[in-house]
């Protein structure tokens, strides 16, 4: 019989040391490197040139302004929309909830590039289908839509990930809410909408804050859409600037890291504020008196269904149609040519000698990453929410760091880490290091998600289990795990897709025997075979969808019974 606190402190310290090492080591190297002014591979020289170069970088202020205006507009539009949809999906008697929710998952699984190309096809100022139709009907010389614009970028984001990911994150959190809280408000005379605004939204504050901050961070990292739609009109954002710096010859790693470090410093107070806001209040919404009851929408039932279905159609079915169509077209978007439709793109992929190996590696790595992510992130989240471990806030704080670093730099930092430590050199080039790298670089989202949901979970549920004779581990397995299942599932699926799509880490750490589908996709992209690249992206999407469906089926047996 050993002292509980002694053992707890020991294990918590071990987790902190592990996570801290893997996260801070690359970041510290990156920051140190921002003062390094020698060429790559040369003996280091230190100076402030990188930082000076950043300040002198032309258009930087404009890019920062663009980044933030895009961010604000996107969040203002998508946040209320996502809250409304998540609430409709989780708390009301809306028909086909499970199916509709999955539509939003699908939207998140769709490959950015293919979806964006699809929107270009419809909204291009000259040859976009929507504009053509408009011109044909009205006889006007120009159509009203232009995807190559600020609002075009906003649309491409909202119509792709921005809304979908929020619905994905918010729906389980809403579902976990005790209905008696709503009932109490309704008894007190509030309307359904009033309840949503006055009771649910305040109660859900920790989840909202986490989702919002993640949205801000993701907004800073968002990259592909801005690159495709913004670069031609000279519209740059922070992430495309970093990319530009790293892409130039020789790569300006110094200024790129300086810029990223500056952004990390801006984010730190935001993260600290978030912690304070959440710490101040009690947010338990699942207690042992839990009541789950759907709100009856009454006459609003079918209008609400039409609304959610329309959004789902716009952000998942339509883009999915583009993606699938793209994989069967000789040249995406050219309908008039001879042999416009073909299966060559699929053949090209299946015939590629490294396809099967890449598929195998992707599956191995993504499943490994999903499993590792779920276990690691739930432990980290649990420590920072539930234990009295003295350094728990430090652990939580650290978990924010990786997402503040652009993937391309984090990848380099991790490469340095793995090459510097002799133990990892043994694993160098293997799929295991890829798993570690992708999990570390996605630690923020998963940990914060689990944390937010854990905050909703009444502590007595665990104590009751301990008092019933369950050890900490058994409690975690039988009580905490199943209650958090929806979010753990989500984290697993996110871990899977993150690993399956990762390029910045894999490009630096993979060898020919550990290459994944993402690199095969990149290969096709580089060759300009966008259609075959879309095939690979579709295969990744199908894999993810399969895993998600399987997991959801499993989830129906484990989740809260109502």
């Amino acid at each position: 019989m050993q002292g509980r606190l002694g053992a707890e402190t020991f294990w918590c310290s071990l987790v902190l040391a592990g996570v801290g090492f893997f996260v801070l080591y690359p970041i510290v190297l990156i920051v140190v490197n921002s003062f390094q002014i020698a060429k790559p591979g040369m003996p280091p020289i230190y100076g402030l040139e990188g930082w000076r170069a950043v300040l002198a970088e032309p258009g930087l202020r404009r890019a920062v302004y663009n980044t933030f205006s895009l961010l604000v507009v996107r969040q203002l539009l998508s946040f209320p929309l996502a809250i409304l949809i998540a609430w409709l999906l989780a708390r009301t008697d809306l028909p086909a909830q499970s199916f509709l929710e999955f539509m939003f998952w699908l939207s998140f699984f769709l490959p950015s590039l293919s979806v964006t190309l699809g929107w270009i096809l419809i909204l291009d100022p000259d040859y976009g289908i929507a504009n053509q139709i408009f011109k044909a009907i009205t006889g006007a010389a120009h159509g009203p839509f232009n995807i190559y614009s600020f609002w075009g970028i906003v649309w491409a984001h909202i119509g792709h990930n921005t809304t979908a990911v929020k619905v994905m994150l918010l729906t389980p959190a809403f579902r976990n809410m005790d209905a008696s809280l709503e009932e109490a408000s309704e008894v007190a005379g509030a309307s359904t909408l009033g309840t949503l605004v006055r009771i649910l939204i305040p109660i859900m504050t920790p989840v909202f804050i986490v989702v919002l901050i993640l949205a801000i961070i993701n907004g800073l990292q968002a990259f592909e859409i801005e690159m495709i739609l913004g670069a031609p009109i000279g519209f740059h954002v922070y992430s495309t600037k970093v990319y530009q710096l790293v892409q130039q010859e020789p790569p300006a790693f110094g200024p790129a890291t300086a810029l990223s470090t500056a952004v990390l410093l801006i984010l730190l107070p935001l993260i600290a504020t978030q912690r304070k806001l959440i710490a101040r209040r009690q947010y338990t919404t699942i207690t042992g008196r839990y009541r789950a009851k759907a709100i009856e929408l009454g006459k609003w039932k079918y209008p609400a269904l039409a609304f959610v279905a329309l959004v789902a159609l716009l952000i998942s079915v339509a883009p999915m149609a583009f993606v699938l169509m793209g994989t069967f077209m000789s040249l995406f978007g050219f309908f008039g040519i001879e042999h416009a439709w073909t299966i060559d793109n699929w053949k090209r992929v299946f015939d590629d000698p490294i396809f099967l190996l890449s598929l195998k590696n992707t599956l191995l790595m993504s499943i490994g990453a999903a499993a590792f992510a779920v276990s690691l992130f739930s432990i980290v989240a649990y420590i920072s929410v539930r234990t009295k471990f003295i350094w728990r806030s430090a652990l939580d704080f650290i978990s924010w760091f990786p997402s503040a670093m652009p993937g391309i730099l984090m990848g380099i930092g991790l490469l340095w880490l793995f090459l510097d430590i002799p133990l990892f050199r043994l694993l160098y080039g293997s799929v295991w290091l890829l798993i570690i790298a992708t999990v570390i670089s996605s630690v923020t989202l998963g940990t914060q998600l689990i944390k937010a949901n854990l905050l909703q979970l009444g502590q007595e549920l665990e104590e009751a289990s301990r008092a019933s004779g369950a050890s900490w581990l058994a409690t975690f397995r039988r009580i905490v795990g199943p209650l958090l299942f929806p979010v753990l599932l989500l984290v697993g699926v996110l871990g899977f897709i993150h690993a399956a799509r990762d390029i910045s880490n894999v490009a630096l750490l993979a060898t020919s025997s550990s290459r994944t589908l993402a690199l095969l996709q990149l290969d096709f992209m580089v060759s300009g075979r966008y259609e075959s690249a879309a095939v690979v992206a579709t295969i990744v999407m199908l894999l993810t969808t399969g895993v998600a469906l399987l997991a959801r089926l499993l989830g129906l047996r484990v989740g809260i019974r109502a």
């Binding site: 019989m1 509980r4 008196r289 104590e463 009751a464 008092a467 039988r478 989740g559 019974r561």
Partner: protein, 368 residues
Amino acid sequence: MGFLRIQNLTKRFGAVAAVDQVNLEIREGEFFTLLGPSGCGKTTTLRMVGGLEKPDEGEIHMAERCLVSPAKGLFVKPERRDMGMVFQSYALWPHMTVFENVAYPLKLRRVKRAEMRDKTRSALELVGLGGFEERPATALSGGQQQRVALARALVFSPGVLLLDEPLSNLDARLREEMRRELKALQRRVKVTVLFVTHDQMEALSMSDRIGIMNRGRLEQVGAPEDVYYQPATVFARDFLGKVFALSGRIVDASGEECRVELKDHAGPPVSVRAHRSGDSAWAAGRDVMVAIRPEQISVTRSAGDGRGNVLAVMLQASQFLGDRYEYTVKVGGESRVLTAPAAQPLKPGQQIYLQLDPEAITLWPTAQ
């Protein structure tokens, strides 16, 4: 020797001692209640007994087994303590059925399937929920959830049952019903109970003994009647119920009965039987308070035979409360409230007589 022994138990949160040097012995089969306002340390004490908090000092023993002792570096994890616990929020697991909730402790103890089913069934029948096995735990009413929590805590026949304000979330009527049932249940299964509540009615009605806690300290331990009628501290006196208190001065403390002259009151001095004679605190000339539970005062229209303590007072107001009346009277220039069953209604403005049993009066030093 107590079955559950708590010695010098202390728990600090920062600089504040939430539980401060608590000593307690609970007998086997006893229904023991820790009573006190919120924040008095009663729940923390219970959680330390259950192993959910770790004390800073002191020891807890159960049946000669030491459960925790920071000095010896000893700590038995909650799951090894053989205690059932019912939480304020019931803490039913929403992902399990009623059966799964109750069977959980048995499952962890690797009880065989058939035996598990029988034991779970009988535990549910014990709490009156036979036939609810397959319902989801979330589909029950508050009272039913409470019973499930109780069944879960009892199903493995624990040595001690810990109850943390289990009735506080029920409505008034259900609470009364559960109070009776809980007591009856405890008598039937003869389990030792440590019960925590802030409701003096619950404490008084169910307990074999009560421990009154205030600011982390155990102020008085005793049978319900003892602590109610003979509170040892001002806090215990005021917390347990209403008090009818009058100021005065001791005029004679030599005999078996102490005599107190009431302030600004013209009548004869009041006799108090249970003072501790010889105690210098109660010497003649001291300013004191005489206190009595209002329901122990008989209210009459006439002075009667004049034996005992009879106070003539002016009735200022009366209020009908259904089963009794509440009277506001003027004694010694101050208004006091008391309640009494009313045989006949008394009119405000008339002179009435209060009879104070010398046995029931307690003496208190005047508050500084």
